[in-house]
């Protein structure tokens, strides 16, 4: 009697288990199908852009559209330099986004360091000032900034583009969180060894902050590289435009030649994409940090 019940429960158990197992496999297949569909939705526009940028104009504007075309050409990549002053855009973007990134790394980590590891009068006030600054949208003060830059003759200059962006409240916040996390006795020991404050910062603290510095670097680089409104306001001549501002003005509502514009779009996102492939974890870290709360 007892043996039989044991048998049946075992049987029930094993069918339950195989059912459970089968359900799990089915679920995992459904999950992978849905995710693959989502991956396709995300990837298709980029692949299509890349492929089409190598097509002849007449193959781009066919209906029904084709993914592949019989013939491919570099023509768009050659023509784009004539139809759009792309070389200038690339140069301006590299100078603006690159210099902004480098300077803001230095300034943000200096301020973040002071707020994290030094005791001084008004520290809380400065800290709240930075926190509130993070919440102020650019569009709110863009008009007076434009007037200010105009009065200082800094419109259409690299200085005018770089200096207002040479520090960001978010960068300060990010570096502060980083320095708060470093062990307390590090700087005290260094101070006893007779190192001055600047050397403690550059020789001991900064080398320990490389991961955060990398994350902040790609974060500010991406933001400034891709920004549209800011360079649109602080530059007025075509020769000072950055890639997004220049491309936006050239496409506008009606695109007359698709091929060169597509080639320009590919060129504009290629540098960041290459950096992303090699430094993916720092990009993700930057985004994750932005979601951190005290």
């Amino acid at each position: 009697m007892e043996a039989r019940t044991a048998d049946t429960t075992e049987l029930v158990d094993s069918t339950k288990k195989s059912n459970y197992h089968r359900n799990k496999v089915i679920k995992s297949i459904i999950f992978k199908v849905i995710m693959s569909l989502l991956i396709l939705i995300v990837v298709f526009p980029f692949l299509w852009l890349l492929l089409s940028s190598f097509k002849y104009e007449k193959d781009i504007i066919t209906y029904p559209p084709h993914i592949f075309s019989g013939k491919y050409t570099f023509q768009n990549y050659i023509k784009v330099w004539d139809t759009i002053p792309l070389l200038g855009y690339v140069k301006n973007t590299v100078i603006f986004a690159g210099a902004t990134m480098l300077i803001s790394l230095v300034l943000d980590s200096m301020t973040g360091y002071a707020l994290a590891r030094m005791e001084f009068k008004g520290k809380t006030a400065f800290y709240y000032f930075v926190m509130v600054s993070m919440m102020i949208p650019f569009m709110v003060y863009m008009i007076p900034l434009f007037i200010e830059m105009n009065k200082m003759n800094l419109l259409d200059t690299y200085t005018g583009l770089i200096v207002p962006r040479a520090t960001t409240a978010f960068g300060i916040f990010m570096m502060r969180s980083n320095f708060v996390g470093l062990p307390r006795d590090l700087d005290e020991a260094a101070r006893l060894d007779g190192l001055n404050e600047w050397r403690i910062f550059t020789k001991i603290m900064l080398p320990l902050s490389k991961p955060t510095l990398m994350a902040l670097a790609v974060f500010t680089l991406t933001n400034n590289w891709n920004d549209l409104l800011y360079p649109l306001i602080l530059t007025t001549t075509s020769s000072m435009r950055t890639l997004p501002a220049g491309l936006a003005l050239f496409t506008g509502q009606h695109i007359s030649f698709y091929g060169p514009v597509m080639a320009g779009a590919v060129i504009s996102m290629l540098p960041l994409f290459v950096i992303y492939i090699f430094a993916q974890k720092y990009f993700v870290q930057g985004s994750a940090m932005s979601g951190m709360k005290e």
Binding site: V42, M142, L243, S287, G291
Partner: protein, 308 residues
């Protein structure tokens, strides 16, 4: 000799003074604070100041007009419409992005090869500028040559006009924005989900909770703070929508997609170049955003307290 000595001594005491952390801190912060003051705080005050003036981009005929610009706003149908379009975009974009991002994060929270690959792919649009996204989508959605109208046509639908259709343009822009940005929400939510202690799931499982119940009763309560953060930053970001509209529809058709920032931009930086009036609209938008962020902040901290 003596002179040199005192100067060295002065130099040394000067150096000693600034080398104390309580003084050095100001030197460390000075560049950032000066930049923030000059290029953010002063312009910010300037916006409020300018909104009381009639002032154009050439600084001719500048005149104090008191509250006239604000009064004009309430009689300016195009300005009020631009505010509504902005709110409409925000209501379309924010919930969609937060839901898509959170679900993607929850689905991909386990670290497998497939999941890691999916996450990397979903982040790619984040590094692509809104300008480039706009260029891609205005071609993909083009009724004459685009893929998406073509595919929908194959399913027997009338070819939608998307960006050129007054009712479809804004939803199209919102969907494009979700496509571009949900990777950010996913990343933030992923960090939050992965920080949940596995013991919570174990005890829920022992209580007989299935996966769905676990998601709603363990995952969601634990990620509420991050979820709140995402909702808030998305709300504030969406209220400033500009890039994607500027590139795809430029506010058309018939100003039906013109956003508040775009209206400010076109009022101030193209004819009639009314910087004063544009500043007044900017001030109004800022007040709306400030109310939104302060109230959602308060609500979230209230919710968090309730949860505990």
């Amino acid at each position: 000799m003596e002179e040199i000595d005192t100067s060295v001594g002065k130099k040394r005491s000067f150096f000693r003074f600034w080398n104390q952390p309580k003084h050095a801190a100001y030197l460390f912060m000075a560049p950032s604070i000066i930049i923030l003051l000059f290029f953010m705080v002063i312009p910010l005050i300037g916006t409020l100041g300018l909104s009381f003036f009639n002032i154009n981009i050439f600084f001719t005929g500048t005149k104090f007009v008191g509250l006239d610009n604000f009064i004009q706003f309430f009689h300016d149908q195009r300005a009020i419409n631009s505010m509504w379009h902005t709110v409409y975009f925000t209501l379309l974009e924010t919930p969609t992005q937060v839901i898509v991002g959170t679900v993607a994060a929850a689905a991909l929270s386990r670290t497998t090869l497939f999941n890691r690959f999916s996450r990397s792919v979903f982040y790619v649009p984040v590094i692509c500028s809104l300008t480039t996204s706009g260029i891609i989508f205005s071609m993909l959605l083009d009724p004459n040559i685009g893929w998406i109208p073509y595919v929908l046509h194959q399913f027997g639908m009338n070819t939608p006009q998307f960006f050129r259709d007054a009712t479809l343009a804004m939803p199209s822009i919102a969907v494009m924005t979700v496509w571009k940005n949900f990777g950010v929400t996913m990343t933030i939510m992923l960090t939050a989900i992965q920080a949940i202690s596995p013991s919570l799931y174990e005890s829920a499982e022992m209580d007989g909770a299935n996966k769905k119940q676990q998601f709603f009763h363990v995952t969601i309560p634990q990620i509420i703070p991050s979820l709140g953060f995402c909702v808030m930053t998305n709300l504030i970001g969406s209220m400033q929508v500009f890039d994607q509209i500027y590139v795809t529809t430029a506010g058309g058709p018939e100003f039906k997609t013109e956003s508040a920032v775009q209206y400010i931009y076109s009022r101030g930086f193209s004819a009639p170049y009314q910087l004063g009036y544009a500043s007044a609209v900017a001030t109004i938008l800022f007040v709306i955003i400030a109310i939104l962020s302060v109230s959602s902040n308060l609500y979230m901290s209230h919710k968090e307290k309730q949860m505990r």
